[in-house]
């Protein structure tokens, strides 16, 4: 019996990076391209999280309107949701990672990302 597909939310203001991420994620077992939703900033992502159920969120930090950190804070604080959130950002210093993890991110990856590492995290949070 085929396993139910997982729902993912990809949040990034860069259309290029969103496309790259969606394309790479669609190659992972258990993820169908139709189950990947895109959001252009934190605000858009927050609306989508409120109106649908996601198994995993991948978010950038530097975005207009609402940045990724604020988005994570709202998901954990206002929505009280504990869904796994992976931050993927160009900010890769130790203090950036500590900050991201302290506000409730489940994992942190620095851009440019390695798909092998991202896949490991996906398997960790969604199971193989």
């Amino acid at each position: 019996m085929e396993r139910p597909k997982k729902n993912l939310l990809v949040v990034d203001d860069s259309a290029t990076f969103r496309q790259l991420l969606c394309m790479s994620l669609a190659r992972v077992d258990g993820i169908a391209p139709s189950n990947i939703t895109e959001a252009v900033d934190g605000e858009d992502a927050l609306n989508k999280v409120q109106n649908a159920t996601f198994d995993l969120v991948l978010t950038d930090i530097r975005m207009p309107n609402m940045d990724g950190l604020e988005f994570v804070r709202r998901v954990r604080g206002d929505l009280k949701q504990d869904l796994p959130i992976i931050i993927i950002s160009t900010k890769g210093a130790d203090e950036d990672i500590s900050l991201g993890m302290s506000i409730g991110a489940s994992a942190y990856l620095s851009k440019p990302i390695s798909m092998v590492k991202l896949r490991e995290l996906i398997f960790k949070f969604l199971g193989k």
Binding site: F17, Q19, L20, M23, R27, T90, G92, P112, V116
Partner: protein
């Protein structure tokens, strides 16, 4: 010889007793001899058994020694196979990582070229080049220059970091500085490794055939990125060709569109009169 008959009888009785004693002694001796014979026979039997057992034992020891030696050889073979399989596994794992890296590389190249040619808006093309440089290559500080045909200068069309402050009016003459030199010669320039602060220098001419239409200059990588990988080189080489055509075609389209709109404006004015 005048012995009394009682004494004779007594003497006779004693001799009888003595005779009886001798008889018993004889029987006992015979019994002992028989037992001795039996025991000797038993000893011979046991010795034979011992020799048989010893021979069996020796055969068993020999068989076990042979088995042990065969098992040793088998173990050696299995150990060898195990090491071979382990090496194969490592090789497969390495190949898997390489294939994954190639897939990653192809996905990056595909998305980069797809995005570059998905728009005819010059600003969007510049934005796309910036996104590729930031998100896919990991550049923190870079400048995108386009050639101004009239003045033979490079004009800063997009940047990230503190680049704008380096150049007066955002223009660089051909042959001036590394950017101008790359524009003049049309040759790529790479430094091998990033410095401790992530400083790197990569200057790539954007060319359509042999005509240089712009230059991408990278000055600094993101702090966590230690150097340019082979994928980065491929991406930059791809950018050299695709970004050039995307920039020129979008500019041409923008000019044509502007002209078309002007003509349409004139036409509608003429129609009104």
């Amino acid at each position: 010889m005048g012995e009394k008959p009682e004494e004779i009888m007594k003497l006779f009785s004693k001799s009888e007793e003595l005779l009886e004693m001798f008889r018993k002694g004889k029987a006992f001796t015979e019994e002992l001899m028989y037992e001795n014979e039996r025991l000797r026979y038993r000893i011979v039997q046991l010795e034979k058994e011992k020799m048989d057992l010893s021979a069996t034992l020796m055969r068993e020891v020999e068989r076990l020694r042979l088995e042990n030696s065969q098992m040793g050889q088998k173990l050696e073979f299995v150990d060898g196979r195990f090491q071979e399989i382990e090496a194969e596994n490592k090789d497969f794992a390495q190949r898997y990582v390489e294939v994954e890296e190639q897939n990653e590389s192809l996905a990056n190249l595909y998305v980069a070229s797809y995005r570059l040619h998905s728009t005819l808006d010059p600003d969007e093309v510049v934005q796309c080049i910036k996104e590729i440089l930031m998100n896919m290559i990991g550049s923190e500080e870079f400048g995108l220059y386009v050639v101004d045909e009239e003045t033979s200068e490079l004009v800063l069309a997009g940047y990230e970091g503190e680049i704008a402050q380096r150049f007066e009016k955002g223009r660089v003459a051909f042959g001036e500085g590394l950017e101008g030199l790359v524009a003049q010669t049309g040759e790529l320039f790479f430094t091998e490794d990033a410095g401790a602060s992530g400083e790197v220098c990569a200057c790539i001419p954007l060319k359509i055939k042999e005509r240089v239409v712009g230059v991408i200059a990278m000055y600094k990588l993101l702090p966590h990125k230690k150097g340019l990988s082979s994928l980065d080189h491929k991406l930059l080489e791809l950018l050299a060709g695709h970004a050039a055509t995307a920039l020129v075609s979008s500019k041409l389209y923008a000019v044509a569109d502007r002209k078309l709109k002007t003509i349409e404006g004139f036409m509608s004015l003429l129609r009104v009169r």
